[in-house]
Symmetry: C2
Subunit: 255 residues, 2 copies
């Protein structure tokens, strides 16, 4: 097993932030500054073109750590954040920029691009989870959740399907094409978000992906607005959902 190396530690806003590596994959672990007892772990997947400390990650980490007492870990996806891009990454990104500039559909590029990244990311996540569970404040038998939207779903949904340690997941906003068969294998509770007026992903595509989960408990939250307008109250809802299924109370998530 590749072990976890902490590379820096700081503290702010009630959270201890520790950068780490597992092999050559860089990550960050946020934990309650109060020095929690053993607590549930939430893995978060960042969006396409962003990184492990993007505001969408730090904002949710605040709610999950300070609101629920969880540990939260994010790793940079292949070709993202502090990681080098491969020649294939560069080619895929160039093709995506071209489609964006031309106002052409992005699905035909994003779907195979993200499916290729998922092949790399799932074993990286599993090695990271193995290593994180060696830490005494997390432990090998505690509940684990996952939260990732858009590319965080393209890479995370296959992880949830492959990984029985994950007991609940927040997913959403992705084409079903590469994911439907894996969604059919998933039975843990799912909270799935989509944007009703999403200009990138057709509503029907996201509804089809939500429909595919075999989970007995699954909830769709669809909000008016475009792709990047996901309302902030959905982060509070995600905290409550994880608290319900991982066994904590969402203290600060009541707004």
């Amino acid at each position: 097993m590749r072990s976890l190396q902490f590379t820096s530690e700081s503290s702010s806003n009630g959270m201890i932030e520790r950068d780490f590596t597992v092999g050559d994959v860089p990550g960050v672990l946020w934990s309650p500054a109060s020095g929690a007892d053993r607590a549930p772990l939430v893995l978060m997947g960042h969006g396409g073109g962003t990184h492990k400390k993007h505001p969408s990650m730090t904002g949710r980490a605040d709610r999950f750590v300070n609101g629920c007492g969880f540990h939260v870990a994010v790793i940079d996806a292949p070709g993202h954040g502090d990681r080098p891009r491969s020649a294939q990454d560069e080619a895929d990104i160039a093709e995506l920029r071209k489609a964006q500039a031309a106002g052409e559909p992005q699905g035909p590029i994003v779907v195979p691009f993200n499916a290729r990244l998922a092949e790399l990311a799932v074993p990286e996540w599993q090695a990271t989870l193995d290593a994180l569970q060696q830490l005494p404040e997390i432990g090998a038998d505690g509940p684990v959740g996952y939260c990732g939207i858009a590319m965080g779903t393209a890479l995370g949904l296959p992880l949830v399907a492959a990984e029985p340690r994950i007991k609940a997941a927040i997913l959403g906003m992705m084409w079903p094409d590469a994911l439907v068969e894996k969604a059919k294998q998933i039975t843990v509770p799912i909270e799935f978000v989509l944007q009703w007026d999403d200009e990138l992903m057709p509503r029907e595509a996201c509804l089809a992906l939500f429909d595919a989960f075999a989970s007995k408990e699954k909830t769709l939250h669809a909000n008016a607005g475009k792709h990047f307008d996901l309302p902030r109250f959905e982060a509070d809802s995600a905290a409550r959902f994880l608290a319900r299924h991982l066994g904590r109370t969402a203290v600060a998530a009541q707004a």
Copy 2:
């Protein structure tokens, strides 16, 4: 203006319960036993075949009164609860029972039946609201919300469309046929629930109704399960939604 007559008063579970009539329409008003200052008012519409004190009404009243400090009022719909049924009500209900027994679609019966009741109910609700706003603990200028699912939507959506005093509404689970044009006139924030595996109302019908609202803020909550399996956490979500838009904090609604 028809005035409000209180006919009985009792107290339990932190709430004062006052039965009332406005003209020949019977209703119930639940208020915080702590003797609230002036507080927002939530009107609730009950489901088909039930009444103003059905458990789905008392359960939500508990969350809205004890959780948010609101006043909550429900009136019996025409032909429901303590109100007499007309010959037309009896005929519609007989036809509905026949369709249910035969396992035939209920929409073709429920849609015109409920549209007829809505014609009666909207002015009754408006007279009730006029009378309730004469009470010093409610007042004429305080915010008003609405919450009603299924028949509570068939009767309540036209009320929300007609009534500028209503500032936010929880609706859901109804065919769009008689309601789409009125939904297009509605611009206040909407939280809309549907059951993903509803055996009575096709998913596509409910999605079409949600789509029709002109509201800039509208949220769809779709949960796995059949028509009567709406999860209890949706009542907590409704409390938080109303607290956000009517200006209170959902103290007890954090689970």
